[in-house]
Symmetry: C2
Subunit: 221 residues, 2 copies
């Protein structure tokens, strides 16, 4: 099994955690986002959308879109489960995951950062503020849910880590890379800290991957 990813990619981080939690062995192929390698012909043969990650299971075309991959892994390697069993609980977990995956991350991915710089010619501080604004908005939305919903436990939903935790951890790591202040989100920080005590989460972290710098400017991750 081959995971096409990049140390810094938050979407790759999500899949890496899931593979670790499930105990699935995989090789990671680095596709350098900073060099635009994802747009090269070689990677387009793997994923025509030219985005990371992709998961090649060896039995057909590579799977694409990180959340679809997480669901696939949960369906094909059911233990440990990354979603609870009751539909209403599953809806809450997926909803939390989507707050991070759908509301914040799409606004901070490389192609959007490039558009802000090269097409809109925005100055660096304005772009940095954009990144923090959308990451913080999702952090606030997650915090509200985690702090007010009785289903929140040791993790986002009860005492077993799952898809929402995976996405929350990647979101908080990204917030760190972008220099966000996470002080206003104590529940989110607590859940993420709890996750990072688990080696499946910790060893998947961007800053622990080959190619990652020893320190990231402004990084609180």
């Amino acid at each position: 099994m081959k995971l096409y990813g990049f140390w810094r990619s938050l979407a790759t981080f999500r899949v890496r955690i899931a593979l670790n939690l499930k105990g699935i062995a995989f090789d990671e192929v680095s596709v350098d986002l900073m060099q635009g390698e994802q747009r090269g012909e070689a990677y387009r043969q793997v994923n025509s959308q030219a985005m990371l990650p992709a998961l090649d299971m060896g039995d057909g075309p590579a799977l694409f879109q990180s959340l679809a991959i997480l669901e696939y892994l949960d369906e094909t390697y059911p233990t440990p489960a990354l979603l609870p069993s009751k539909p209403r609980d599953r809806a809450r977990v997926r909803g939390l995951a989507l707050i991070a995956v759908c509301e914040a991350h799409p606004l901070v991915v490389p192609r959007v950062r490039e558009y802000l710089e090269k097409d809109l010619h925005l100055a660096e501080p304005v772009r940095a503020e954009w990144l923090r604004h959308w990451m913080d908005s999702a952090s606030a939305a997650l915090e509200l849910r985690l702090a007010s919903d009785p289903e929140t436990g040791r993790f986002c939903h009860g005492d077993v880590p799952g898809i929402a935790d995976i996405c929350a951890v990647a979101h908080v790591a990204g917030s760190g890379l972008f220099g966000c202040d996470l002080t206003p989100y104590p529940m989110l920080r607590r859940v993420v800290a709890e996750c990072l005590t688990i080696e499946a989460f910790a060893s998947a972290h961007p800053l622990r991957q080959p190619g990652a710098p020893a320190h990231v400017a402004g990084g609180r991750s």
Copy 2:
């Protein structure tokens, strides 16, 4: 059952189609996005994230995030199914849905349009180009998949409409609202046209909801 939505909201459109396909009766409560009603205290009691849609099933807190709601409806009202049965097929359908939901829509929602105007002070033509750029990028990604994957049938995946079709139809309607040129995406247009021959899709369309204008400037939807 109460669907909190707005005629123009593409995420509400998705849930409306799913409810129609499943034959589930519901009342829609209009929350006026153009007046910012979603940020008012009344709606925040329904969905603390202040986003549409939310689905109140009458047996607990309202469900949030449209894709999570679609999965919930498919789990609790299994007929007709909105996802195929095999994990690999489900992964493709979810992946296609996420291209529209996660790569394009988050960049064109009201709060982002407001930020472009009020925080970045971008001129109207620059903002219009932004909207079209991201909608078109996702259209191109969907077109590539639909045109090259053997699984594409009458609909996005085989001959039964599902979650990918729901998201593709909403995406194309949004592209119409933003004046995108869909000429380069014939497979996407064909699948969407096929969907819109089904009343469950057609009657859920933004322009057929109470409050919608008779015509939308530049609309090709």
